[in-house]
């Protein structure tokens, strides 16, 4: 249901500008339920829209997954398995939702017989099983969220990965879902040029990510390693 709202609401008893998500995360990790509710109020609608777009508007499924995602986020915060210094709370919630959605798709394909050789399941355990792995594998999801945040640094911090303006434009367009041909048309370049620059950018990003992953051959591409992130 959609109700006409009178505009953004602030937390009761907190006049003035709303706190940042990083600040709310810090308070939520300290056990502040109201801060967690505010995080949910601000991030939840976007997460629902993303899931709605992926599911083709299946509200019941979206509500069910979203509810369990936020339960998992709260559980990770309460049990201290979520480390705010490794990933922003938005990225962490996104990674859990993405994981739950991918697992749902795999389960759906298995039940429909699209994937051969896997046993079919029936009833409520389908939904339970497709979300529970997301809850149980928080460390892996946190690692994925950390990786996504580092890629975001590459996208937004030009010095981090040492990308040129054109390379940054190309990877930003790829992140926004733009195809190679459309990008070539828009920039007035040939597809082969785009392809070459894209792979050069990928090599720099790999090198940047390799520094974090402790790969022996990785070279630091820039002086800024993104340690000045405001959002953890």
């Amino acid at each position: 249901m959609y109700r006409v709202s009178s505009g953004p609401k602030d937390l009761p008893g907190q006049p003035g500008p709303s706190p940042t998500l990083a600040e709310l995360t810090r308070r939520a990790c300290a056990g502040d339920h109201a801060a967690f509710q505010d995080i949910h109020r601000r991030v939840g609608p976007g997460l629902n829209r993303m899931l709605m777009a992926r599911s083709g508007g299946r509200e019941e499924l979206v509500e069910e997954i979203a509810q369990r995602v936020w339960t998992a986020v709260w559980k990770a915060i309460a049990e201290k398995t979520y480390d705010p210094s490794r990933s922003a709370i938005t990225t962490f919630a996104y990674a859990i939702a993405h994981n739950a959605w991918i697992t749902h798709l795999r389960r759906f394909a298995r039940d429909k017989g699209y994937v051969q050789g896997l046993p079919s399941t029936q009833g409520s355990e389908v939904l339970d099983e497709h979300v529970h792995p997301a809850i149980d594998s928080i460390p892996q999801i946190l690692a994925e969220a950390e990786l996504i945040d580092r890629v975001r640094i590459c996208l937004h911090d030009q010095a981090a990965a040492g990308l040129s303006d054109l390379e940054r434009e190309i990877v930003s367009a790829i992140a926004a879902g733009e195809g190679d041909r459309a990008l070539a048309r828009r920039l007035g370049l040939s597809s082969s040029t785009i392809n070459v620059r894209k792979h050069a950018a990928y090599a720099k990003i790999r090198a940047f990510l390799g520094v974090f992953n402790g790969e022996p051959n990785a070279q630091p591409p820039g002086a800024n390693t993104g340690s000045d992130r405001s959002t953890p």
């Binding site: 006409v4 998500l21 993303m50 640094i153 911090d157 930003s172 879902g177 992130r229």
Partner: protein, 262 residues
């Protein structure tokens, strides 16, 4: 890490950026994410998005101003008509429902009859005309908006519907699809929107003109997508008066024909 994995990570990073932007939109503070401190540099994609948002906001404001002017004009017109020639109800079913000339592309389904309450004996009757009292404050209607191949309004149908005293959030999408409109006004619609509205009767569309006006408003509002019901939730909530609940279901042509046969 191969190219495919890196592509996936880039797309995920883009989605998280969108998520963070929408989260920041709920707050009056500056964006708390990576973009706020990354050397102050904005990516070209972000600059494009900002421009797009500014254009959409300008369009929405222009649309709202135009609708407000049109609404005032319509209200003034209806007031002048009412003062010059008060409508005469020919039957009970027509009392309380404004008389609007039917349009060719509108197929109207009569709405529920308002209950008339007789004045008790001995009551002093003033010079004001009797006012029909509606049985309940909250009523519900379902509006079907049929769209043509270009996505424009083809025709609308309006029908009253009670959800067994349930609130709209409790109504399942399949129930919304099963509302009977009789004969559809379009034989092969490309895309149909079913919109359940609940609220005070005076706030709901009760005539063809108001239904068409609401449908045009919803379809003309700027939106980021065109496929599912979620794409129209924002426009719909901006087009209905305050206090009216909305639930939307989007029906593609294939399933729509099957639903209509019920």
């Amino acid at each position: 890490m191969n190219d495919r994995r890196l592509n996936e990570l880039l797309r995920m990073a883009g989605e998280v950026d969108d998520l963070e932007r929408s989260a920041d939109g709920m707050s009056s503070s500056r964006r708390p994410g990576l973009n706020a401190t990354a050397n102050g540099a904005k990516s070209p994609a972000l600059i494009r998005t900002d421009r797009l948002i500014r254009r959409q906001m300008f369009g929405a404001l222009s649309m709202a101003a135009a609708l407000a002017i049109a609404g005032v004009g319509f209200w003034l017109n209806s007031q002048s008509n009412r003062s010059s020639a008060p409508p005469v109800a020919t039957s009970d079913s027509e009392r309380g429902v404004s008389e609007v000339p039917a349009r060719d592309y509108v197929k109207h389904v009569p709405l529920s009859t308002p209950t008339l309450v007789d004045a008790p004996t001995g009551t002093v009757v003033r010079s004001t005309p009797p006012v029909p009292v509606v049985g309940s404050l909250d009523e519900s209607v379902v509006l079907a908006i049929y769209r043509n191949d270009a996505g424009d309004l083809h025709c609308v149908q309006l029908a009253p519907h009670t959800w067994s005293n349930r609130c709209l959030p409790d109504v399942q999408p399949v129930e919304l699809r099963s509302v009977s409109f009789g004969t559809p006004c379009a034989t092969q619609p490309r895309h149909t929107l079913l919109i359940a509205l609940a609220g005070p009767r005076r706030s709901l569309p009760t005539s063809e003109a108001s239904a068409v006006s609401l449908a045009k408003c919803i379809l003309s509002m700027p939106r980021v997508c065109d496929g599912d019901a979620a794409c129209f939730s924002g426009p719909a909530s901006q087009c209905v008066p305050a206090g009216v609940s909305v639930k939307i279901e989007s029906v593609a042509d294939r399933s729509w024909n099957a639903d209509l046969q019920r």
